[in-house]
């Protein structure tokens, strides 16, 4: 799938001055692929995912099944949506620390409004609008007042987390029939395989994001800002508008991820999703998006989420290990990936 979507701008390298000669060896071609800042990290992630999956299949009985793979999507659909929004932001060279708190906030809004008898058909759009507005405010703060994205989104994070407590100090459970229905529904895929509605929503979000980033002027401007904001300005691109919009997208995705998360937990709790923003950032980076912006794919970020998910699955299968080992592995992996990005990309010229 990655291959297909990237095809239109994959370098042919036959006539480019730095491309290999047509009869270059396979090793040379692999080397070129790995040292490309565009394809290198995401290729490594894909290989890593396959290796972990095979290793898990060899080590544990019952690991090698389609449902284990699908459960990666089922358990992480909200994280996929978060990572999509985060990809837009990081591609411009920014960062969004508020997404975890916004997930919790949208869960709290959903739970409290549903408790007072609101219809889900009103609650869900309202959440998406509110979180988009929060993203807009963050984006304006970053653009108009030239606040560092780190600081602006940190402020938004505290605001969102604080608002959670304003709504309620304790957990609110959701009994709304529609939500319960969506939480337990399974969509059969034939065989013994099934997915949840959340997975479908996440896949649709990913598909739209791929199209936007790849085939619209807005999407290309996102890449342009990451490649060089000053150059983008001098080329006459709408840098300001685009920079604000990526935070709106991230806000929208956080809201949507919050809704998917409540499908998963059927409650709103102010302390939920603490540190999720860091999971999303980790997924995006492991998925091959450069933290400095300009290089990366939404599908890479999806792959990053899957790598995080499969590590978690392995630890569950291991049985004796504390789930905190997941964090240690993810931390180590992140470190390795960031160093890898530096090393691979600096090899080039």
């Amino acid at each position: 799938m990655t291959k297909l979507l990237d095809a239109p701008e994959r370098p042919l390298r036959s006539s480019g001055p730095s491309g290999p000669a047509p009869r270059a060896g396979l090793a040379r071609r692999i080397r070129n692929l790995l040292t490309s800042p565009k394809y290198g990290p995401v290729t490594v992630t894909a290989v890593l995912f396959v290796v972990i999956f095979i290793a898990g299949g060899v080590r544990y009985r019952g690991f090698f099944s389609g449902q284990v793979l699908l459960n990666l999507l089922v358990d992480n659909s909200y994280l996929i949506v978060l990572a999509v929004g985060m990809t837009f932001v990081i591609l411009t060279g920014g960062i969004d620390l508020s997404v975890g708190a916004v997930v919790a906030l949208s869960g709290m809004i959903a739970a409290s409004l549903l408790q007072t008898g609101w219809s889900p058909a009103a609650v869900i759009p309202l959440i998406l609008v509110l979180t988009s507005i929060l993203g807009l405010l963050v984006g304006l703060m970053i653009h108009v007042f030239k606040v560092q994205p780190f600081i602006a989104t940190l402020a938004a994070m505290f605001l969102a987390r604080g608002l959670c407590y304003v709504i309620s100090q304790s957990s609110i459970s959701i009994t709304d029939p529609t939500f319960v229905q969506l939480a337990v529904a399974r969509i059969p895929l034939g065989g013994n395989l099934s997915i949840t509605p959340s997975v479908i929503i996440a896949v649709v979000v990913v598909a739209i994001a791929v199209w936007v980033l790849h085939a619209t002027r807005f999407g290309r401007t996102v890449y342009a800002i990451g490649g060089g904001e000053q150059s983008g300005l001098l080329m006459g691109l709408p840098v300001a508008r685009t920079k604000v919009l990526v935070y709106v997208i991230s806000g929208f995705c956080s809201g949507l991820a919050g809704v998917l998360f409540t499908f998963y937990t059927l409650s709103g709790y102010p302390l939920t999703a603490i540190g999720t923003e860091l999971d999303a950032i980790a997924a995006v980076v492991i998925g091959g998006t450069l933290l400095t912006g300009g290089y990366g794919f939404v599908l890479g970020s999806v792959l990053g989420v899957l790598v995080l998910g499969i590590i978690q699955t392995i630890i569950t299968f291991e049985g004796t290990l504390s789930s905190w080992w997941t964090k240690i592995f993810i931390g180590a992996l992140l470190l390795v990936f960031i160093i890898l990005q530096k090393v691979l990309t600096s090899r080039r010229r």
Binding site: S15, R220, T221, A224, G227
Partner: protein, 571 residues
């Protein structure tokens, strides 16, 4: 070009004046460009080239004057407007996006679309057609960052002409290109010229200007010197117009203390650079410097004089050749290593790379010494005060208050503070890059005198200055650079400003020089002066150097802005 001289100019700027706080960057400059002609804007640092370009492209507003584009008076509020009107600029630093494909870089913002989606195929077709129009064999789908800077430059040009440019401004396009790449660029420029585009080519490289340009305009200190047809202007005349010295007034230059006998045997060489170079900065150069020798570097801005000095000072790493310090081959990777080898580099960029404005005179003076000792061994307060006091007196720093903030000092006194800082670490080689730029005559003479005394005491000095008289006055040996090559290495013996100018402009070989200066009145006087060994009597003569107090000299130093000035060239 005969057919263009009858045509209407596509751009006509008249009486352009721009003032920045404290500086008149442009003063009533006229400038015009004809279609199908390559025009060069020439001038030294601070002449106003960049300011004029920015006035033309709408980056700066103009205080007075008119700009006419194809017969209509225009005033641009920004580069986007100028571009829409057909004035495209390709900047020295390529302003493109290395993370996107060549096609995108050409078409970004104007991508062909189908049903709301970017039509990648049509986009690549159009980019390919454009590249083909420039005779470039380039895959439009390849990543821009995978290509050399030269190719990126050409892609920037492709982007610029896709918007139907009438005027194409190339600001220092060749500064990081090698010979083949320059040839490729020139081929593109010629083909654009045939299509009737007016091209403004700004470059420090005289050879390139003479190869590609039809007409040139010389600026000096924000004023117009004149507009000339390239074929009618000799190089030496051009250099004189840029530097602004009238040769006839130089004949009375007195004989200087160039007679010091310096032991140049290998044993006495303090540093010896052999084939030292850095790709894109300076071609491999030999530069031996003996202990107690003052070596002058002469050359135009961009000739490689600063680049060579930076290699010796450990600021930039050499990637070719080797450097021997006291006979031992040493690799200088950082300024710190250079300092521990007792080599100090005093930057031409006094404000940004020299003094720390918000620190006191005392702190600035002890900075390098303290860093050299290590921060865990603070210099005792008493020693600090003594040191500061002694340098304030020795160099006559005013105000003589060690607690004054350096940013409140005049340029000359800032320079002295900087000198004191380097002298405090007792260097064996002091590299002075434009130490006298933009400072008043008195301070200039004092610094020149100091250089003399230092060399007498056995310190080697590498002295760089745009003022040739100064280089001639101080140096035992003069190394001439042009277009990043060392073109001559001469004993300062019978050299004149004329012969140096000739070398800078033409780069004639070493043995032609004595012939060139033979006819000069000075040459005869120089020969008997050589046996008169002692340098001492020459020292007091320095403050009274005739060259230093000529009126146009002082005018030059007053108006010559520092490199950080808004009028300065972006280097």
């Amino acid at each position: 070009m005969t057919q263009t001289s009858v045509a209407e100019p596509v751009i006509e700027m008249q009486g352009i004046s721009i003032a920045f706080p404290g500086v008149k960057a442009l003063d009533g400059v006229d400038f015009r460009m004809f279609p199908g002609e390559v025009h060069s804007l020439m001038g030294e640092n601070g002449a106003g080239k960049s300011t004029l370009i920015k006035a033309l492209t709408g980056v700066y507003g103009i205080d007075a004057g008119t700009i006419t584009l194809a017969g209509d008076q225009v005033s641009f509020s920004g580069p986007a407007q100028a571009q829409a009107a057909g004035i495209s600029t390709v900047y020295q630093e390529v302003n493109l996006l290395p993370n996107l494909s060549v096609a995108e870089n050409i078409m970004l913002g104007r991508e062909p679309r189908r049903f709301g989606s970017i039509d990648w195929r049509a986009m690549r077709r159009r980019a390919a057609a454009l590249l083909e129009g420039l005779n470039l064999d380039l895959d439009p789908g390849s990543l821009l960052g995978d290509h050399s800077l030269a190719v990126q430059q050409l892609v920037a040009i492709a982007r610029a002409i896709d918007v139907q440019a009438k005027v194409l401004i190339l600001d220092e396009p060749t500064s990081s290109l090698d010979a083949d790449e320059v040839a490729e660029l020139f081929r593109v420029i010629r083909s654009l010229k045939e299509q009737g585009v007016a091209i403004l080519f700004v470059s420090h490289f005289l050879d390139q200007v003479y190869e590609i340009c039809d007409r040139l305009t010389v600026l000096r200190n924000g004023s117009l010197v004149g507009e000339y047809l390239v074929e009618e202007l000799l190089r030496i005349d051009l250099v004189q117009k840029m530097i602004g010295k009238e040769l006839t007034t130089l004949d009375d230059l007195e004989q200087r203390a160039r007679s010091v006998v310096v032991d140049e045997s290998d044993a006495a060489l303090f540093v010896n650079a052999e084939g030292l170079g850095r790709r894109g900065a300076i071609n491999p150069a030999d530069l031996p410097i003996a202990a107690g020798e003052v070596v002058g570097l002469a050359g135009l801005l961009g000739s490689g004089r600063t680049e060579l000095a930076r290699l010796l000072g450990g600021i930039d790493r050499a990637d070719q050749g080797e450097l021997a310090i006291r006979g031992k081959v040493t690799k200088l990777r950082t300024p710190r290593q250079a300092i521990s080898n007792r080599i100090a580099y005093s930057s031409e960029n006094r404000r940004d790379e020299g003094v720390v404005g918000d620190l006191t005179v005392r702190d600035n003076i002890v900075l390098a010494l303290q860093a050299d000792r290590g921060w865990f061994r603070p210099i005792p307060a008493k020693r600090r005060d003594e040191l500061t006091q002694s340098y304030i007196q020795a160099l006559n720093i005013r105000p003589g208050n060690p607690d004054a903030l350096v940013r409140n000092l005049s340029g000359g006194n800032q320079q002295k503070v900087l000198l004191a800082r380097w002298l405090a670490i007792a260097p064996r080689l002091l590299i002075l890059d434009e130490p006298t730029r933009g400072i008043d005559i008195g301070a200039k003479a004092e610094i020149q005198k100091l250089v003399f005394n230092l060399a007498e005491n056995g310190m080697s000095v590498l002295f760089i200055s745009a003022e040739l008289e100064e280089v001639l006055r101080l140096s035992h040996r003069i190394v001439v650079l042009r277009d990043r090559h060392v073109v001559a290495d001469l004993e300062n013996d019978g050299l004149t400003v004329d012969s140096l100018l000739a070398l800078i402009a033409e780069g004639s070989s070493d043995d032609e020089v004595p012939d060139a200066s033979a006819g000069m009145p000075l040459a005869g006087a120089a020969v008997p002066a050589v046996p008169a060994v002692p340098a001492v009597p020459a020292v007091p003569a320095v403050p009274g150097v005739p060259g230093a107090d000529r009126p146009h000299d002082s005018a030059a130093s007053d108006t010559d802005p520092t490199p950080t000035d808004p009028t300065g060239d972006p280097r």
